[in-house]
Symmetry: C2
Subunit: 305 residues, 2 copies
């Protein structure tokens, strides 16, 4: 059975059986749309702006305005202007809004429990393992990878996580020093690539020029919770393509000896060890890869030179 057949078959099964979990939103006297809103507003303790709600749920502004009023009339939410920008409105759950959300939550929990309940313990463990794997991979597959301005908030957040992790992992800690990523990119005509999921950064990496035809991949980072989903390889491929677009024919990178998974990944992707090419005190391993071979069609495999 082809991959797509499995996906489609699962989809069918799923919408018929677990899909009913969504209906947990029904039956509390609230139409589905309003219940979804309550649930979504409740994901943030301090409330959300109407704009944020609209982008999360993809609603029309008129529609949302009406829905919010309806919730307000039922005493479930407070809607008030955002003090920082009074065009915006901030929506927060009231006490009884929270109570309702708890009931929705309990309902959803019960339905999930009812789904796994008939299974034996062994089967249940298999199911949850399969679902967790599928969850990770589906999320990974739908990650959005693109070149961004390194000063935008999500990019800065990504870099902060990166530095924090290096500081944890390196035996003597890590100090990024004064050279910020933005400067690096701006000064050397490079690019910064960010992978996001649900708006939050999950992986990132930069490219800077070492010379006319030589690029350097810097600061590749993958969020802890996203390891093992092939995100690193995809990001690397994306960075290589970006480097090619920038006119490079070779890319280099350096890394710390302690980052063993990263080194294994570079090896799989066709990178070969070279001599030290800079004086980065945190790097002990240096790699290079020629970009002149086109990535093969549909390309997951990277041809080795």
């Amino acid at each position: 059975m082809a991959d797509t057949d499995v996906v489609r078959r699962f989809n069918r099964t799923y919408t018929q059986r677990i899909g009913a979990l969504d209906e947990s939103f029904l039956g509390l006297g609230l139409p589905l749309g309003l219940a979804r809103l309550v649930f979504e507003v409740g994901t943030s303790p301090d409330g959300l702006t109407a704009l944020g709600l609209r982008s999360r749920l993809g609603l029309d502004s008129g529609h949302l305005a009406r829905q919010l009023r309806s919730l307000e009339e039922r005493g479930l939410v407070d809607v008030r202007p955002d003090p920082a920008d009074r065009r915006r409105r901030v929506v927060a759950l009231t006490r009884s809004g929270w109570a309702l959300r708890d009931r929705l939550d309990a309902r959803s929990e019960r339905l999930a429990a009812r789904l796994v309940e008939p299974l034996t313990e062994r089967q249940r463990a298999r199911l949850t393992e399969a679902l967790a794997t599928a969850d990770l991979l589906v999320r990974a597959a739908t990650v959005d990878i693109r070149t961004v301005d390194p000063t935008e908030p999500a990019a800065v957040e990504a870099m902060d996580s990166y530095f924090a992790e290096l500081d944890r992992r390196f035996p003597d800690g890590f100090d990024p020093g004064p050279a910020e990523v933005g400067d690096m990119v701006a000064a050397t005509g490079g690019a910064f690539v960010l992978a996001t999921s649900d708006g939050g950064p999950v992986a990132s990496g930069g490219i800077r020029s070492l010379g006319p035809e030589v690029g350097e991949i810097k600061r590749m980072w993958v969020h802890d919770e996203w390891r093992g989903a092939g995100l690193g390889s995809r990001l690397l491929r994306h960075l290589e393509a970006t480097a090619r677009d920038l006119g490079h024919r070779t890319v280099r990178l350096d890394t710390n000896r302690t980052l063993t998974e990263a080194i294994a990944m570079y090896d799989r992707a066709g990178y070969r060890p070279i001599e030290r090419y800079n004086d980065n005190p945190y790097a002990q391993a240096f790699f290079e890869k020629a970009l002149d071979c086109e990535v093969p069609e549909g390309g997951d495999k990277v041809r080795r030179p």
Copy 2:
């Protein structure tokens, strides 16, 4: 993370990302309901009765009548009385109905392909394996197990499959003989338990009385495609509960030596070998279990005596 958390988290991921597969039904100028109907009618080359459609999709009869007429007006289906029972109406796709279905199908295929496309080959294989496992287990968890009249069509179908399989597996074939299940159940005050999924039989088994307090489990069968989903154990538990309701304190069963998985399952469920208690020529192994221990609360594990 608890089992239900995994299910719920997955549910969230899923409805956000793969859920869009359903929307493949949109965008061909047909509202979702009608598209679903076209798809459903197209699952059977000769068409379906309106009744069948209603039970599959859970629609109101008035609603369905209107939807069918709308499809008829668009030239997508033919609706005509069932020659066998002219109260019923048979719905079949027209040529352009089939063409539309093909387009819906292609759309769904493309969306599925787009989902797996970003993954590396390795990740893709992991994903499809996880989804296939989840599919089997979710289906298994939502199987409907109940006591039925053994003469009803699904029950007869189950028994036919059972006999056909024995005939394939036994070295010398198998001949059910004149004693039909229905007779057996009726004559001895037993019961027939059927497990169905989507209306089709997936497992079954019978109980008959051997004496006032002794029941016998007969003809347990699990559909080939449903092996490995714990369905046998669940059916067995159900049969035991049924036997208890019939007043039995002990159940026996016999089986053929070649059915090794079944024997292993009986062992796990607490059955112990006993001496031959009948002259069934196809049986070489005989088991018994005392029912007086209550099944523990929430019970998946069967306590061993």
